[in-house]
Symmetry: C2
Subunit: 361 residues, 2 copies
Amino acid sequence: MTNAQTKIHNFSAGPGILPQIALDNSIKAIQNFAGMNLSILEISHRSKQFEAVVNDAVQIVKDLLGVPEGYSVLFLQGGASMQFCMIPMNLLDEHETAAYLKTGEWAMRATKEAGLFGKVNVLATSENENYNWIPKDYVIPADAKYFHCTSNNTIFGTEMFSFPESSIPVVCDMSSDIFSRPIDVSKFDLIYAGAQKNMGPAGVTLVIVKNEILGHVTRKIPTMLDYKVHIKNGSMYNTPPVFAILVCLETLKWVKEMGGVIGMETRNKAKAALLYDEIDRNSLFKGTCVLEDRSRMNVCFVLQNPELEEAFLNLAKEKNLSGIKGHRSVGGFRASLYNALPIESVQALVDAMQEFEESNK
Amino acid sequence: MTNAQTKIHNFSAGPGILPQIALDNSIKAIQNFAGMNLSILEISHRSKQFEAVVNDAVQIVKDLLGVPEGYSVLFLQGGASMQFCMIPMNLLDEHETAAYLKTGEWAMRATKEAGLFGKVNVLATSENENYNWIPKDYVIPADAKYFHCTSNNTIFGTEMFSFPESSIPVVCDMSSDIFSRPIDVSKFDLIYAGAQKNMGPAGVTLVIVKNEILGHVTRKIPTMLDYKVHIKNGSMYNTPPVFAILVCLETLKWVKEMGGVIGMETRNKAKAALLYDEIDRNSLFKGTCVLEDRSRMNVCFVLQNPELEEAFLNLAKEKNLSGIKGHRSVGGFRASLYNALPIESVQALVDAMQEFEESNK
């Protein structure tokens, strides 16, 4: 093992755990990239060796998700937060309305940003219940410009396991569950994801966009914020985040090796079941979300007696369980079970929960 | 040496050469960051260990450049190209005029982008002479909102060794010569630089901005494009490009160790003198730029007889001189002598030029 003498179980909500092989290969590329005797950090992004990385990264995204013809795959900068403004800037004229589903903090931020560019219709929200469920009882208006949703809510621990029928373009923030399960890309018109959960390190954002939805707004779009510019230039209009793209490629090669998104879904279902079963069985803990909407990526749970919280965090630390403190919006604990987290780490957390139950009888 | 069995002389125009110690320390951080037994690529950006990296990086920028009180130092995404639109978006109202000096490709792109947000007054340009000199005979209008210039023109090989007096805010793109020499930050109101030449890898952009120039435009600025948001959040409004910032810190620690920007200037003057002297002496070669404006960072030169070009590129390859092919806008050769390039590499290039002269007598 390259990166640890003590094995740490990494439940970080993001940037999150990456496959060891991706870390190892990324280090090799810093030492000597593609036999050039130069580091990946100090070569031209126009070199044929790096162009191959971008091409391979685009291709593996297409292969893993089954991206149909007519879509472009982009690697951009700025995170999902930059997409919150790029999407309405490119898709929504001032007099038009976009429909948003408000299922958490990031959905809320996306909604707010769209309001700078046009009208926003919030179709449904679970805000009053601290976003602990996914609204399903709404109709997407046929006259809205697009429908925006968030497939997984990292902070609140809910996930959309079905998507509504829509006669208008569907835009989805998949930052925290992309590549964790199969999706039917043809049902979406724009998918975006900050890389730093299931795909790579911080500093690069994946965008998969159906070409035909672009080019219909009347405003002047700044060059760097125009999807068409990035499509035309193959994500190389300006210097891309070279190393972050390489780490994504190495991570996605591992995903492919492990059976692709179907393999990931099997893994992730088993990990989530192991932890949720323990949460439901253990007399000290309880989950925070409605059962049917529980995320497989971010498992939020609390103690029946919140006064024990610090004691459990101390035990977790002692057991090398890292990153399980809950977000301040929910409290308690959050265990992020991203693709690269092995089930052994979940078992270690379950063992700690059982030990904690024993010692607090 | 970690990254090469064969020593390559890396004259890449960018992403460019980095100090070996910065590469080595960056690898260590991927293996085990700050004693956490986790990789820098898979930890929370909100961890105290990474917050220390950002704080240290901000502080070393302030120390190296002598940034006065009242300025903020930011690490953003999107490259200098994103700054081309962020600057007018934050500083220029629709009815107002900004003054631009057009000294090359990047200055031209910055100028074009400003036109989307307000009026642009191009004060001077050397476009008709393929940008081979820096205009100096112009007056900055007192009623413009700001003056924008490019301190070093990477493609054309010119550099501004003096800056005009200005009664209005001065904005400068220093992407390719920042930290290569002392600058008086108090004479500037906004300095920006893509990291991938003298400061770190691709994927992060330095912005140094005088706080008082912000907040005066009437338009609504998208959250991610608002400098005030990034200042308020210490470059952590959303997940920053974690690893790229770490590599910058490691690179700037090396700059400090080597005598800071004064040490760099001494090094860079010696390297540039060695190469320009050979260009001027060697009967086969000639420089492309006006003498007084010749860049110390990017040395552009051509053969008196262009038919020999391929032969010299072959010799360069044989001598492990990498990245010296000129940009298509100029042709011939370009040797980029960024901070981390040792004078031994310049000597190797000079030796090759002399050998080439001998064999073409």
